[in-house]
Amino acid sequence: MSNGFEAVLMEEELPLRPAAEDPLGALAVRVLDGDTEAFGALLTRTQPRLLGLAWRILGDRDLAQDAAQETYLRIFRSLGSYRPGEPFEAWMVRITVNVCYDLVRKRGPLPLPPEVLEGLGADPSTHETEEAVLLRQRRDLLHRALAGLPQAERAALVLRDLEGFSTEETARILGVRPVTVRSQAASARVKLAAACARLMNPKGGRP
C-alpha cells in the first residue's frame, strides 16, 4: 500500500518518531522483546515525573502513590498495544490521567490534602518568618483553589501549564479537541487568578 494510505491510518494518533529519538520507546520495545530488566530502567527514568503528575491531578500524596503504582501495572500489561514510534511519554501520561480519573470516580470528590488542612489551622505566631508564613498561605490557598476546579479543567491546566505539553498534545492525551483544552485551561487560570487576587487583597475588590 502507498505511504499516503499509511498516513491516513495514523492520522488520529500521535506523530511517529524514530526509536533513536525516543529512548523511553526503545526501552518499552526491549521489555516487549522479553527484557524485563528494561522495565526497571523505564521506571527510573519516568517515576518522578509520573508520580508528580498523579499528585498534581489528585492533590493527595497517598492517592498519588496508589495511582502511580496502578499506572505502572497498567503500562506493563498494556505494553503489547504500544505502537513503537509513538511518543512513549505521551502514551504513559494518557494512562496516568485515566488511572487518576478512575480513582476519583471510585472515591468521589477529593478532600483537601491533610497538609493543607493542617496549614489552615496552624498558628502563624510560631517560629516561622513572615516570608515562610506567606509562602505557606499562598500554597494552601492555591491548593484549595485547585481542589475546587472541575476535574477536566484541572487536568488541562496541569498538563498545559505545569507538565509542558502543547495544546495539541494535551488534547490528544485527554481525548478532546484543542479548542476544548484552550477553553478549560483558560477557565482554570481565571479561577486561580481570582484566588490569587483574594490572597493579595483579602478584604475584597480587585488587586
Binding site: 500500500m1 502507498s2 505511504n3 499516503g4 494510505f5 498516513a7 491516513v8 491510518l9 495514523m10 492520522e11 488520529e12 494518533e13 521489555v31 516487549l32 522479553g34 524485563t36 522495565f39 526497571g40 521506571l43 527510573t44 517515576q47 518522578p48 508520580l51 508528580g52 499528585w55 498534581r56 500524596r61 502513590q65 503504582q69 505502572y72 501495572l73 506493563f76 500489561r77 498494556s78 505494553l79 503489547g80 498495544s81 505502537r83 497538609e115 499562598r138 500554597r139 492555591l142 491548593h143 496541569v158 498545559r160 501549564d161 505545569l162 502543547s166 495544546t167 495539541e168 484543542p178 484552550r182 485551561a185 483558560a186 477557565s187 487560570r189 481565571v190 486561580l192 487568578a193 490569587c196
Partner: protein, 198 residues
C-alpha cells in the same frame, strides 16, 4: 480593542493560545494600558505561584518504596505480548473495504431476472436424450446465476504513482457486469503550529 476584550483574552494570551493577529493586538494594548498590564503581570505571577505550590513533595524514600512495590507486582504479572491494533480510522477503512467486497460479490445475485416457468414437457414421443429425461422424470437443468469468474487488483503502482488511487476490478460471468473499485488515500494534514506557545 477595549480593556474588557483584553482581560477576557489574557488567560489565552499568557499561554500562547491566541493566533498571531490577536496576540499582537493584545500586546499592543498592554504596551499602552497600565491597568491591563497590571492584570497580565498578576496572571503571570499567579502561574509562577502555581508552579511553586505544585512542586511534588516526594523524596528519595517515597520513590524507593514505590519502586519496590511496583517491581514486586511486576514479577508476578504476565509478561506483555505484542497485539495488533487498528486505529479508529483504519478500522473504518477495513470495515468499508470488507463491505464493498461483499457488495461486489453479491451484486450480480441481486440483479438476477426471475426465470419464467418452463412449459410443461411434451409427452415422450421421440427418442434420444429428451425421451430418456422424460422417462426418468428429470427436467432439463436451468442455467445457474452469473458467477464471479475473476477478481484481480490492478498492477502494482510505481513509486511515482503511489499517491494515485488503488484500482481493484471484478469480472462476473455476465460480460455486461464489470465492477471497478477505486480506493483513494487522503494525505495527512499538516499540524497547525501557529497556536503553540511561543
Amino acid at each position: 480593542m477595549t480593556n474588557r476584550h483584553v482581560l477576557d483574552r489574557l488567560p489565552f494570551w499568557i499561554a500562547g493560545d491566541l493566533d498571531a493577529p490577536e496576540t499582537e493586538a493584545v500586546q499592543a494594548h498592554l504596551n499602552q494600558c497600565p491597568d491591563c498590564r497590571a492584570a497580565a503581570d498578576g496572571m503571570r505571577e499567579g502561574r509562577a505561584w502555581l508552579r511553586e505550590a505544585l512542586e511534588p513533595p516526594f523524596d528519595a524514600t517515597d520513590h524507593a518504596r514505590l519502586r519496590g512495590a511496583i517491581l514486586a507486582q511486576i514479577c508476578h504479572a504476565e509478561p506483555p505480548r505484542r497485539t495488533s491494533r487498528l486505529t479508529p480510522r483504519a478500522a473504518i477503512l477495513v470495515t468499508t473495504a470488507a463491505a464493498l467486497v461483499v457488495l461486489a460479490l453479491t451484486h450480480p445475485l441481486r440483479h438476477l431476472q426471475p426465470v419464467p416457468p418452463l412449459p410443461a414437457p411434451p409427452p415422450p414421443t421421440g427418442t434420444g436424450i429428451s425421451a430418456l429425461q422424460a422417462a426418468s422424470g428429470t427436467a432439463p437443468s436451468r442455467p445457474g446465476p452469473p458467477r464471479l469468474v475473476r477478481a484481480r487488483a490492478a498492477p502494482r503502482q510505481t513509486p511515482d504513482e503511489a499517491t494515485g488511487p488503488t484500482r481493484i476490478e471484478f469480472q462476473t460471468s455476465d460480460p455486461t457486469i464489470h465492477i471497478i473499485w477505486l480506493a483513494q488515500a487522503t494525505p495527512r494534514p499538516e499540524p497547525d503550529l501557529s497556536q503553540e506557545e511561543p
